[in-house]
Symmetry: C2
Subunit: 444 residues, 2 copies
C-alpha cells in the first residue's frame, strides 16, 4: 500500500483529496494519505485573516485575501463538475459572488465525507528530501512546537503561488514618510479612505486593489504600469500612468513625468513560486506563466514522476482545472495512467511551452488553457462539464471588462454543469458595500 | 582544527567574531568560522529596512527597527570595553543617540579587520541537526536559490529574539475596519498623524511606539496594559487604560470601561524565541526572561556543550553583556574554560533561575543582571570596564524616566570605559524631529 503526502489544503489540495474520495466511494482501495496544512483551517487563499506578517506561532501568514473581495471572473467558469452551485446553494445565485460565498461553496464539497480527517492542520513542512525511493518529510506541529518526520512514496505539492509576495525596491522607498506595502498585506480598503494611493502593477491585484480603494473613498488612486497599461476606462479619481521612477519625499514621480502626492504605495507586483520546504532537486523554479516547464501535462515533475505539482500555472481556469489536474495526478499515483518514455515526455512539454511562448493576447491565452484543460479532462473520469461554454464565457467576460470595468461584475452567465442561468444580483457591484454571504444570498 | 558555525551577524554574532579576532591578533590559531546571515548586511536589528513581511526572496523580514528610534538607555551602559564611543567618533557625543549613530558605532568596531569575510550574507539556515558529533547545517543561498550543506563542531546561535513577533487575537479583530499591526511592522510614526492610535502592551515597545506617535502628531494615543500600567506621566493626547476587552466596529472597548475611537491598533505584545532552523533537541524554548533555563552561565546549552546561545536573555545590559558572553563562549570553544560536572552545571543554573524568579522591581533586576555580567567578565580577558558605574547609571536612568518620560533622553552620563562625560545634546529629544547622524553629531 503506497503512502501519499499532500502539502496544502487549499483548492488544489482539496481537489486531489476529493479525487481520491470519488475512487473510495466506488469501493476502490486508496493509498494512505496525509495532507499537511500550515493554517488552522482549510480553503487556502479563500480564508480571510486579519493577520499580516506572521501568525501566533511565528510562521509566515500565507493569506493574501482582503475584505470586500468579489470574484473577478464568472463563477460559472470555475464550477466543479461534480458539485454544482445550484446543488450547494439550493438555488441559482448571481455570477460574481463575494469571497465568503465562494469559500462556502469550496468547503461544502468536502465537508460531508472523511476528507478532513486526512489533514494535519497547524502543521508546517520544514524540509523534504528524496532518499531511497521515499520522500522524507520533516514537519512541525506548530501548536506544540514539536518536530516530527515521516516518509512517503508520493508527494503532491499544492501550496499555491499567491502567498509569498515579490517585493521590488524603488529609489526613495527607504525615506518615504508614508506606508509601503504589498497587496499580500492589503486587508481593508477602508484604511485608505481620504488618502492618495499609488498602486504599482498591471495585473489582477493592481486592477482590483485600485478599484477597491476608489470604491471605499480614497482621495486619489494612481496606477503605475511597467510594460503595458491595463487601459480600462477608469472612474473619476483614478488614473493610469507609466512606471514609477522614484519616490521623492511624499511625492511619487513617474517615467512619463507625472508627479503625484502619495500617502501609501501598494505594490501589486506579484508573487513568487516559493518552496522553501523542498530540497533543491525537487523545487519547481518558474515565474508566473501559463505553462511552467519541467511539468508533464502541467503536473508530473519531469525528473521524478512520484512528485506532482497542482495549480502552478498562471490561471484563467481555476477550480475545475485543478480538478482535472487532480484527477490526472490521482490516476498517475494509482498507476491507472502510465507515464510515456522520457523522450515523449520531453516532446510533450516542449510542445506546450513553445505554444505558450507564442501567445499574444487574452483570447489566445484563454484558448491555450482551455485546450490544456480539455486534454486533461479527456484522459480521466472527471465528470461531464462544458469547457467550450467556459471558453466562450471567458472571452465574453474579457470584453465586458473592456466595455466597463465598474459594471462587468453585474453580468450573468450560464452554468457549464447544469445549464441554469444566473440571476442578476440585487445590487450592482459598485454600490454593494456589504459583501456578507447573508446579504448576497438574500433578496434585498 | 575545529569548525564553528555562527547563526546571525547582529550585535551578538559580531561580539563573538570580535572575540575570536582578539585572539587571532595575539597570534593564536583560531578555528575555521562561518557566520550565516539572512540579511544582505550586518548589524542585525540595527539595520533599518522599509520592508515588512518578506524580502525580495520571499524570506521573512527580521527587522523590527523604525525611523526616529533613539536609544532608550544611556549609550554608556552598552559601551564596548575594547572600543569606546570616544575612540569611534573622535569626540564625546551625547548619551542617547539615534539609531544610525549606534549602528555606525557597532559596525565601526568590526569593519577594519577580516571579520566580514567570515560572513555569508543573504544566507538562510534551513535546518540543523546534531549527528555523529557534528552539526549538519542545511542552508540556502537566497540570491541564487541554491540549497547547500556543511558540518561543524560547534554552533553559536546569535539570532536575537526581537525579530519574530508574538501576535495575539482579540475579539472583534476580524471585523475591525482599520489597521491592525504588530510593532515589528512599525516603520514610521508619520503614518499615524491625525489618527486615533491604540497601543497594546506595557514594555519598551509600547512605551516608545506610543511616544513616537504622540511626538509625530497622532490625534490620540491610548495604551492598554495587561497586568500593570507603565504609569509614566504621559503628555497631553496620551492615556493609559486597563487591557483591551474587544473591538466593536471602530471602537476599542477596555476592561475599565474606556471606549475609544480607533483607526489603528498597534500590538506591542512582544516577540518569540523562534528557532525554526534548529532540530527539536537543540531548540531553546523560553519566554522573554532574565535567566532562561537550560543555559549554563546563560550561554552553554545544558544538553550539548558544543551548542552556545548568545543574548537570549531579557536585557538591561546589552552590547557589553553580549561581549562578556561571547568572550566566555569563545574560551569554551577554545577549551580554555572547562565545563564543570553535570551536577554543578545544574546547580549553577538553578541558583540563577531561582534568584531571577524572586525579583520584584527594576532596581533588583538591574542588580541581578549586573551580577551575572560581572561574573562572566571575571572569567575571561574581556577588557576593563566599570560595571558598578553602569549599575548606577541604569538605576539613575530608571528614576529619570519616572520623573519625566519626555525628558529622560536629555540627560548625560559618564563612560565606564574612558570616564569622559557626555555633552548635553543640542536639541531636546521631544523637539528633535530629524534623527540623522549628521544632524546629531554636528553643532546646531
Amino acid at each position: 500500500m503506497s503512502k501519499v503526502a499532500i502539502i496544502g489544503a487549499g483548492p488544489c489540495g482539496l481537489s486531489i483529496l476529493r479525487a481520491f474520495e470519488h475512487l473510495e466511494k466506488k469501493g476502490e482501495k486508496i493509498p494512505e494519505i496525509v495532507c499537511f496544512e500550515k493554517q488552522e483551517s482549510w480553503g487556502g487563499l479563500w480564508n480571510y485573516n486579519w493577520r499580516t506578517g506572521s501568525d501566533q506561532y511565528g510562521d509566515p501568514v500565507p493569506n493574501s485575501m482582503y475584505r470586500y473581495l468579489w470574484s473577478n471572473g464568472p463563477k460559472e467558469c470555475l464550477e466543479f463538475a461534480d458539485y454544482s452551485f445550484d446543488q450547494h446553494f439550493g438555488k441559482s445565485i448571481p455570477s460574481f459572488p463575494p469571497r465568503e460565498v465562494l469559500q462556502d461553496y469550496i468547503l461544502g464539497r468536502v465537508s460531508k465525507g472523511n476528507i478532513k480527517n486526512k489533514i494535519k492542520f497547524n502543521t508546517r513542512v520544514i524540509n523534504t528530501v528524496y532518499r531511497n525511493d521515499k520522500f522524507e518529510i520533516n514537519y512541525q506541529d506548530k501548536v506544540n512546537d514539536k518536530t516530527l518526520s515521516d516518509t512517503f512514496d508520493y508527494l503532491v505539492v499544492s501550496t499555491g503561488h499567491f502567498s509569498v509576495p515579490f517585493i521590488p525596491e524603488y529609489e526613495g522607498m527607504s525615506s518615504f514618510p508614508g506606508r509601503i506595502m504589498h497587496s499580500h498585506d492589503f486587508r481593508d480598503a477602508e484604511e485608505f479612505r481620504g488618502k492618495n494611493v499609488i498602486v504599482l502593477g498591471s495585473s489582477y491585484s493592481a486592477e482590483d486593489v485600485a478599484l477597491q480603494c476608489n470604491k471605499y473613498g480614497a482621495k486619489s488612486v494612481t496606477i503605475g504600469y511597467r510594460h503595458n497599461p491595463m487601459g480600462f476606462k477608469w472612474p473619476k479619481g483614478m488614473k493610469e500612468v507609466h512606471y514609477l521612477d522614484k519616490l521623492d519625499g511624499k511625492k511619487a514621480i513617474f517615467k512619463d513625468g507625472t508627479e503625484q502626492d502619495a500617502d501609501v504605495v501598494i505594490l501589486c507586483t506579484g508573487y513568487l513560486h516559493h518552496f522553501p520546504f523542498l530540497d533543491e532537486s525537487l523545487k519547481l523554479k518558474t515565474h508566473n506563466r501559463l505553462y511552467p516547464p519541467k511539468l508533464y501535462k502541467g503536473v508530473v515533475w519531469q525528473d521524478n514522476h512520484k512528485l506532482l505539482y497542482l495549480g502552478m500555472q498562471d490561471q484563467f481556469h481555476t477550480f475545475n482545472m485543478f480538478d482535472c489536474q487532480a484527477w490526472f495526478a490521482r490516476d498517475v499515483i494509482m498507476d491507472k495512467i502510465k507515464m510515456p518514455s522520457d523522450d515523449e515526455i520531453d516532446k510533450d512539454i516542449n510542445k506546450w511551452v513553445s505554444m505558450e511562448e507564442k501567445l499574444e493576447n487574452p483570447d489566445q491565452m484563454i484558448d491555450f488553457q482551455t485546450e490544456y484543460t480539455k486534454e486533461l479532462h479527456n484522459i480521466s473520469d472527471y465528470p461531464k462539464i462544458d469547457f467550450e461554454l467556459i471558453r466562450k464565457h471567458f472571452k465574453e467576460w474579457e470584453h465586458h471588462k473592456v466595455e466597463d470595468i465598474l459594471t462587468y461584475r453585474n453580468k450573468s452567465f450560464s452554468s457549464p454543469v447544469t445549464g441554469s442561468v444566473a440571476p442578476v444580483h440585487h445590487t450592482p457591484w459598485e454600490k454593494a458595500m456589504d459583501d456578507s454571504m447573508k446579504t448576497f444570498l438574500n433578496k434585498r
